[in-house]
Symmetry: C2
Subunit: 332 residues, 2 copies
């Protein structure tokens, strides 16, 4: 294994400390309780948003803590759900009296631990609502999931629900719009290589020099099939078709999120985006907003995912609203 680390045990905490040091203007990292919050506490009466999940998907979720997006994030061990304790602590830390929204990707461990944390927070008198993200159409059930896995749509839910909360939305407003984003988003990913976790020190799965995993999960979970790699035009068309077979677009406008899994050059992601524009144009869908880059990664895995969000005027306005986080910034 070759990684720029000291040892697998200290990898996570030292990376978090560096993250906190690099972005001290925006966030504060509580290394003891293991959560990340904005550097400034929320205004009283603001609905606040907490997300989290296994580490190794950076910048998700910590990179999205800041103005207009998350109030806190709970990073678990690599590819492992955070336990309830840090989720409760983060929920208490950002509670501003108007309710806290948990944004949870659909993995069994995350769902269970956020559920326990929500109950413990409720015992403390904090009103918690949950938005479940289950956008990955590749497989019905997976290694760590019952139902669709949660992937790229997490970024879109956090951005749009975060904008609604920043603008003074009530708990019901924020939950409703967050659930709507989750319902109107679908994703599909492909891997060209495996990732290697620091603890294992070897690739999570074996894959041949000409093979790809079609429908891979963000922890290296199997997809629909293993096959010989093909031209990007064919891969993207089939990814888009899989998404559109499951998504019932609310209208002709979409946000397209082309996401790198960690080891894929930006030039390839823009090429995938170019193919996607053409495929969707042929299906009567216009991409009116886009996000291209490595935002939901799987450590060093080469590959990409596509997420489509069917847009309406409300979602579009929240997407365009100002955001100021380590990984996404605009308009302010």
């Amino acid at each position: 294994m070759k990684k720029l680390i000291n040892d697998p045990d200290s990898y996570l905490l030292q990376g978090l400390r560096g993250f906190g040091r690099a972005h001290a203007d925006l966030v504060r990292v509580d290394l003891d309780q293991r959560f990340i919050v904005r550097s400034e506490p929320p205004k009283p009466g603001k609905v606040t948003l907490v997300s989290g999940g296994g580490s190794g998907h950076e910048p998700l979720h910590g990179g999205f803590v800041g103005y207009g997006m998350l109030d806190a994030a709970c990073p678990g061990e690599v590819f492992t759900s955070p336990t309830p304790d840090p989720i409760v602590a983060a929920t208490q830390a950002v509670n501003a009296g108007a309710g806290v929204v948990h944004i949870v990707k659909n993995y069994t461990g995350d769902v269970m631990n956020f559920q326990i944390a929500a109950e413990l927070a409720a015992d403390e008198g904090i009103q918690v609502e949950t938005v479940l993200v289950d956008d990955d159409v590749a497989v019905e059930d997976s290694l760590y999931t019952a139902g669709r896995r949660g992937t790229g749509a997490a970024v879109l839910v956090e951005k749009i629900a975060g904008a609604c909360a920043e603008a003074g939305g009530t708990l019901a407003d924020v939950v409703t719009v967050g659930k709507r984003v989750a319902a109107q988003s679908r994703s599909f990913g492909v891997a060209l290589t495996s990732c290697t976790t620091p603890a294992a020190g070897r690739p999570t799965f074996e894959i041949g020099p000409d093979e790809m995993e079609f429908g891979v999960g963000i922890h290296g979970e199997p997809g629909r099939r293993r096959e010989t790699i093909r031209p990007a035009s064919e891969i993207v068309r089939e990814m888009a078709d899989a998404i559109l077979a499951d998504l019932n677009p609310a209208g002709p406008r979409a946000l397209a999120f082309v996401n790198g899994l960690g080891g894929t050059p930006l030039g390839e992601l823009y090429l995938v985006y170019d193919e996607l524009v053409q495929v969707l144009d042929g299906r009567g869908i216009e991409i009116v907003r886009s996000l291209v880059g490595s935002y939901v990664t799987s450590l060093d895995m080469a590959g990409a995912s596509i997420t489509l969000l069917s847009l309406d005027d409300e979602l579009l306005a929240w997407w365009d609203a100002p955001v100021q986080t380590p990984a996404l910034r605009w308009g302010r």
Copy 2:
């Protein structure tokens, strides 16, 4: 070779088309003449900035075209300098009558082609000045370079000189501050894996499963030595020492840029940043600004580079000024 492309010949142009489509609010890509400009033409009397170089280092340079940074970028073929023609065309396209600054990384091909282009533009009555970026202290001369190679400091020169130009700086102002950033910046990189260019289809160099290239160039040029990988703490200390042996800091304040070469997870980059903070603290240098991410890449190469810029009040103010480009955005 496994890449998300259609074929090696169309890779570059299709990626550029996708880039233009994804960022049509900020940039326009001229595929025929092969350059990228801002979507809005410069105001008359603005000093304008043009950079460029081989492709494969994305988001450099096209990702830095926009308000507060570059006016145009010229992407060559992968790892190959742009020819003079697109540089002349870009220089003419953005000339607003107050002079054009070419920001050139120190590679023999880039230096020659930008020089020819500057002379051709001068024949058209355009005043062109050049800022050379030669920050990489790893080797004295290299495969494609006489003198120090140009790497991460290009981003810092483009940001700071771009801010000066945006604020109405004269040609002399912009060139002076740009040269000062180049003079006060030094870099050092390490590779854990090779990159693979689409045209070659196989790794640029062979490297063992436990080896790293200490002092690598951004095209895979050899560094100081090949050695067994060590803990990040030792690697970062030696990188910082190599930089500080060559840089004569103007004061105690520095900007630290920890850059991923393409295949390295963000978590490792933040860990490297954490080590760097500690090393510099022991050397009496305070990091007052930072940039952590994959901004000057070498396709899919795993590895990282560190760039230090010795800061003064003027450079700090220009760094903090608003910027609005595909790859860097803040403050506006």
